[in-house]
C-alpha cells in the first residue's frame, strides 16, 4: 500500500471522525494539544486495518476510482486536513451519514449519464420520477451547483444538503432561500420575480385563480416584506420578514436528514467501520 498517496503532512496525524452536530458526540483525540485538523496517517492506514484507516482509504480510493476528483490537492500536498475540512464544511453530518449520502449520490449521479456527477436531468428524475422542467427545481439545482459548471459534484451535494438539516442555523436557511428566490441573481427579490414564482406554483398545481387574486396575494406579501419601499426585497428585509414569518422556510428543512442512517439502514450494515471504531 503506497504511503505516498496519503502522505500529506510531515507528522503523522490521525484521521478522526468529528461529529459536529448539536448532539455533541465528540470523539477522543489522541493528541489533545493538536487542535489543528487531522490529516490521514500513513502509518495508521498500514497498521490498523480494522479501524479508521481502512475507512479513510476506502473513502478516498472509492472516490478516485469513480473518477470523482474529490481530493484535488492531495497529490500536491497542499490539502492537509482536506478531508476533515470537508467534514467541517458539511455542517451537520457525521461520517456515517456522509457515507450514506455518498451512496445516494452515486445512485443519482449515474442514473442517466454514468459519470458520477449529477446532471440537471438526473436531478429532476430524482425528485419527480420524470424529466419535466420546473422553475423551482432549476433554481435548486443552480444553487447546489456552487461552482457553476453545470453539474452537482459530491462536495456540493453534501454542503448544500447540510443547509436542509434540521439542526442547520436559521440564517443559513434564510440565506439559501433568498438566493433561491432571487431568480435573476441581482441580489434582490423583485416584485415581478415573486409574481413569476407564484404563477409557476399555481401552474404546477393546475390551479386557476383570477389574475386579480394573484396580484392581491403578491402585493400583500411584497408590501409586507419591502419595508424600505424601494420595490425590491434586499437581504436585510428578507431576514426580518423570515423572522416574522417562520413558515416561509418550511421547505428549507428535510427531517429525513436527521435520521439518514435510519432511512438507509443498508448503509450502516455495509459500513466498514462503525463510529466507535474511529476512536483511537
Amino acid at each position: 500500500m503506497s504511503c505516498h498517496f496519503l502522505q500529506i503532512q510531515k507528522q503523522a496525524l490521525l484521521l478522526e471522525a468529528k461529529d459536529i452536530t448539536s448532539g455533541g458526540r465528540r470523539r477522543r483525540r489522541r493528541n489533545p494539544e493538536e487542535e489543528e485538523l487531522p490529516a490521514l496517517s500513513c502509518n495508521r492506514a498500514q497498521e490498523s486495518i480494522s479501524s479508521g484507516g481502512r475507512f479513510a482509504l476506502g473513502f478516498i480510493f472509492g472516490f478516485k476510482l469513480l473518477g470523482v476528483d474529490f481530493y484535488d490537492g492531495l497529490s500536491t500536498n497542499k490539502a492537509s486536513g482536506s478531508f476533515n475540512a470537508f467534514l467541517e464544511s458539511t455542517g451537520s453530518f457525521t461520517v456515517n451519514e456522509v457515507e450514506a449520502l455518498y451512496d445516494l449520490f452515486r445512485k443519482l449521479s449515474n442514473s442517466i449519464i454514468k459519470d458520477g456527477l449529477i446532471h440537471k436531468e438526473e436531478f429532476h428524475l430524482a425528485l419527480f420520477r420524470n424529466k419535466k422542467t420546473n422553475l423551482f427545481v432549476d433554481r435548486v439545482f443552480d444553487l447546489f451547483d456552487q461552482k457553476g459548471n453545470g453539474v452537482i459534484e459530491f462536495d456540493e451535494f453534501v454542503r448544500s444538503l447540510s443547509v436542509f438539516h434540521p439542526d442547520a442555523p436559521e440564517e443559513q436557511k434564510a440565506g439559501f432561500a433568498f438566493k433561491l428566490y432571487d431568480l435573476r441573481q441581482t441580489g434582490f427579490i423583485e416584485r415581478r420575480e415573486l409574481k413569476e414564482m407564484v404563477l409557476a406554483l399555481l401552474d404546477e398545481s393546475d390551479l386557476n385563480i383570477t389574475s386579480d387574486a394573484v396580484e392581491m396575494i403578491v402585493d400583500r406579501t411584497f408590501d409586507q416584506a419591502d419595508t424600505k419601499g424601494d420595490e425590491r426585497i434586499d437581504q436585510e428585509e428578507w431576514n426580518e420578514f423570515v423572522k416574522n414569518n417562520p413558515y416561509v422556510l418550511r421547505n428549507m428543512t428535510l427531517p429525513y436528514l436527521k435520521d439518514l442512517t435510519m432511512v438507509f439502514p443498508s448503509f450502516v450494515i455495509h459500513s466498514e467501520v462503525s463510529e466507535a471504531d474511529m476512536v483511537a
Binding site: 430524482a126 419527480f128 407564484v198 390551479l207 396575494i217 400583500r220 416561509v248 428535510l254 432511512v263
Partner: protein, 131 residues
C-alpha cells in the same frame, strides 16, 4: 378548526420542486400526505369531521389551528395519531396537510389509502405526489 393564511412565499414553498424528500424516501413510505382542494374551508372541515366519525377517530383541536386525529384502539405500535392542518391560498383554494405523529407507520398508511383517501374524494383536487 381554523385555517392558516398563506403569504406568497409560503405558497411558493409548497412547490414539488422544493420537495427534496423524494431523494430520500419513496411516496409509498411517507407518513405525511398533502392534497389540494377547491372547496371552501367550512366544506373541507365538515368533510373531515364526517370522515373522522366514519373511521371512528377521535378529533382534538390544538391551539395553533392544527387538528389532531386519534384512533380509539391501541395498534401495533400504540395509538395511531396524526395532525391535520388547513392552509388557505384563497377562499376557494386550500392545501391540506396530514402528518402522522405516533403509532405504527404501516397502519397509518393503510388507514390513509383504504379509509381516508376514498372518503375524501369529493373535496380533493389532487394529492401531492400523485402524477
Amino acid at each position: 378548526m381554523s385555517v392558516t393564511n398563506l403569504n406568497a412565499f409560503e405558497i411558493i414553498s409548497f412547490s414539488k420542486g422544493f420537495d427534496l424528500s423524494g431523494m430520500f424516501i419513496v411516496k409509498e413510505w411517507r407518513n405525511e400526505a398533502r392534497f389540494t382542494s377547491d372547496k371552501s374551508a367550512s366544506t373541507i372541515i365538515s368533510k373531515l369531521e364526517d370522515v373522522a366519525k366514519a373511521l371512528n377517530l377521535r378529533v382534538r383541536k390544538k391551539d395553533n389551528g392544527v387538528v389532531k386525529m386519534q384512533g380509539r384502539k391501541e395498534g401495533r405500535n400504540g395509538v395511531l395519531q396524526f395532525d391535520i392542518e388547513i392552509f388557505e391560498v384563497t377562499t376557494s383554494y386550500h392545501i391540506i396537510e396530514m402528518k402522522q405523529t405516533s403509532g405504527d407507520s404501516l397502519e397509518y398508511r393503510q388507514l390513509l389509502e383504504e379509509g381516508i383517501r376514498p372518503a375524501l374524494k369529493d373535496i380533493v383536487l389532487a394529492w401531492h405526489g400523485d402524477e
